[in-house]
């Protein structure tokens, strides 16, 4: 069952097409990694999913219901943090949870509030005002607010912002646990691609408002195709050599070196080709990470 179904979604700010004809769906129990560079339209899309921004065109359905018609009913089942964990500085962590429990019409007892604070590692700071919190602690409290009413869909926009390595690991485990053990659907955007790689089952990459890739992460990161970084004494000459041969089809446009994406069995052939062409080869580095894939699809292929 599709928990999120987006069709032809666009948002224009004047002449700027922040989101342009976006289509995607997220099924129940999935951890959906939503990736894109700064300004690619991720946050605008997330805000449209939460009814904070009105789409210019297109449709959004959550839980099979149109968002524009069933907004209030839908949002009962959604918990979210959006970009920064902005909270009321003059209220304590506990007061925040009490306040949002009341707004959600949920009779959340003191035990549930304490449990939620414990889950995000803030139990010992429950009575402290938020103005004394670090960015990471605010982020944890934001996540606690998103989880408090036990939503079916959790939308987390940059949830690891400001967290230390332990905090990042905790949140990653929490997200995985929510999906696996509680069957919740999680849409998560992050700049930490390695984190997304470790927790997401599906990903979508958008670039300049358009979808450039989506699918199961295992399929996108095809183990048979590797990213190869060639280090030479003369990159300009090497580039000419590659462009003149059959390996030019595998060339990726990157401004930080010469990169190719090719089947792993072709790597020795490439090595031989370059040596025979007299390229001063310093090294050949192979990788197959989400970061490389991300950089590949958000760059223009020559």
């Amino acid at each position: 069952m599709s928990v999120i179904q987006v069709n032809g979604l666009s948002k224009h700010f004047g002449t700027l097409k922040a989101v342009d004809q976006l289509d995607f769906s997220v099924t129940q129990g999935e951890v959906f990694g939503f990736l894109g560079q700064n300004g690619s339209g991720k946050s605008t899309t997330i805000r449209m999913l939460l009814s904070l921004i009105h789409p210019t065109s297109g449709s959004i359905e959550l839980f099979g219901k149109p968002l524009n018609k069933c907004r209030d009913e839908i949002l009962e089942e959604v918990g979210a943090i959006i970009e920064r964990p902005d909270l009321y500085p003059y209220l304590t962590a506990k007061e925040h949870l009490q306040l949002f429990a009341k707004l959600r019409n949920k009779h959340v007892g003191a035990t549930s509030i304490n449990d939620t604070l414990l889950k995000v590692g803030l139990a010992d700071r429950a009575k402290d005002k938020v103005q004394t919190f670090s960015l990471g602690m605010k982020q944890r409290l934001g996540i606690a607010i998103a989880l408090l009413h036990n939503p079916s869909l959790i939308i987390l926009d940059e949830p690891t912002n400001g967290l230390d390595p332990q905090g990042i690991s905790d949140i990653r485990n929490l997200i995985k646990q929510l999906a696996k053990q509680e069957g919740k659907t999680v849409l998560v955007s992050s700049h930490l691609l390695s984190e997304i790689e470790q927790m997401a089952t599906q990903i979508m990459i958008i670039h300049k408002g358009k979808k450039v890739a989506d699918g199961p992460i295992q399929k996108l990161l095809d183990p048979n195709k590797m990213i190869v970084h060639i280090k030479t004494t003369n990159d300009a000459q090497t580039l000419q050599v590659i462009l003149s041969g059959s390996f030019s089809n595998y060339l990726l446009q990157r401004n930080d070196g010469i990169y190719l994406r090719l089947p792993d069995y072709e790597i020795p052939l490439l090595n031989t080709f370059l040596v025979n062409a007299g390229v001063g080869l310093v090294g050949v580095e192979t990788r197959n990470s989400l970061e490389d894939y991300f950089l590949q699809v958000t760059s223009t292929i020559i």
Partner: protein, 291 residues
């Protein structure tokens, strides 16, 4: 809706800024009361110096009722500014803080959230007015005692019997609540337009000053619009203290000279409240939350 109102009130009264208005009103009133207590007789003599030859007034001129009237004249110009401090921050303050997006992703419509906020801001305004009434009227009555209310208008004097005064103050404060709720709604409208806290507060204050100037200027060009400006009507609480007289020029007990003027003012102020709040709702509903 009840949940939104109680949460908004909770947020209002948890902020230290809220108490600035209560503190400012208390400080101003107590200073004036202290000054009049210490040197009130010379002030009363100054007031009466022009009419002492033609009129003899028995009893205590400088009593709690007169003090309250003096205080209201002074403060009802400034209280709107204190009201704006909170009302104009209700939506824009949250936009500035970034918490508006948290609120707007709860399962309440924006109309409900804006109405809840407006009602909470209105309750704050009424509580502030009750505080003002308590200090200006009841504390003055306690310090200075009560007697007939003697008022010097521009070209006539009004003498209201002691037992005919208190209900007039109740009426004046109820009227003042309409005037201050108009300011609250104006602040609210300004708040819906902006994403920062300072702009709407300054905007509300500027609008009040601007329209007050238009209302007071006797320039024919503005004569046509003056009856429709809220600032023209905000000071009409004074109408409760203009009394009808019989053919012997004796005050008619329990009467008000111009009831129609009060009614018209309340209608104009209510219309402004509805207009400003409706506009705030429409603007907020259409707004993209980018903060």
């Amino acid at each position: 809706m009840k949940a939104i109102i109680s949460i908004e009130l909770y947020k209002i009264f948890r902020r230290s800024r809220t108490y600035i208005a209560f503190g400012a009103i208390a400080a101003l009133i107590l200073i004036i009361q202290l000054g009049l207590k210490m040197d009130g007789q010379s002030y009363a003599s100054f007031l009466m110096k022009d009419i002492n030859d033609t009129l003899t007034v028995d009893g205590k001129v400088l009593n709690g009722y007169l003090i309250c009237y003096i205080l209201l004249q002074l403060l009802l110009v400034h209280v709107p500014l204190l009201v704006a401090l909170i009302a104009a921050d209700m939506i824009s303050g949250e936009a500035n803080l970034g918490t508006l997006r948290l609120l707007f992703t709860t399962p309440y419509s924006r109309t409900q959230l804006v109405m809840g906020k407006f009602i909470a801001a209105s309750i704050y305004t009424i509580v502030l007015l009750i505080w003002l009434a308590f200090l200006a009227l009841f504390v003055s009555m306690w310090i200075f005692g009560t007697d007939d209310l003697f008022l010097l208008k521009s070209n006539y004097v009004v003498l209201i019997q002691e037992k005919d005064v208190l209900w007039r103050y109740v009426g004046a404060f109820v009227f003042a609540s309409f005037a201050l709720l108009t300011v609250t709604s104006l602040g609210f409208l300004m708040s819906s337009i902006s994403n920062n806290s300072i702009g709407p507060i300054v905007g509300t204050m500027s609008a009040i000053v601007f329209f007050t100037i238009l209302s007071t200027l006797n320039i024919p060009l503005f004569a046509a619009i003056k009856p429709y400006l809220f600032t023209t009507h905000m000071n009409n609480w004074k109408e409760f203290f203009d009394i009808k007289v019989n053919e012997n020029n004796e005050a008619i007990y329990g009467s008000i000279l111009n009831v129609a003027k009060i009614k018209t003012s309340i209608i104009v102020l209510t219309a402004h409240i509805i207009l400003f709040v409706s506009a705030a709702i429409i603007i907020t509903k259409r707004k993209d939350i980018l903060s």
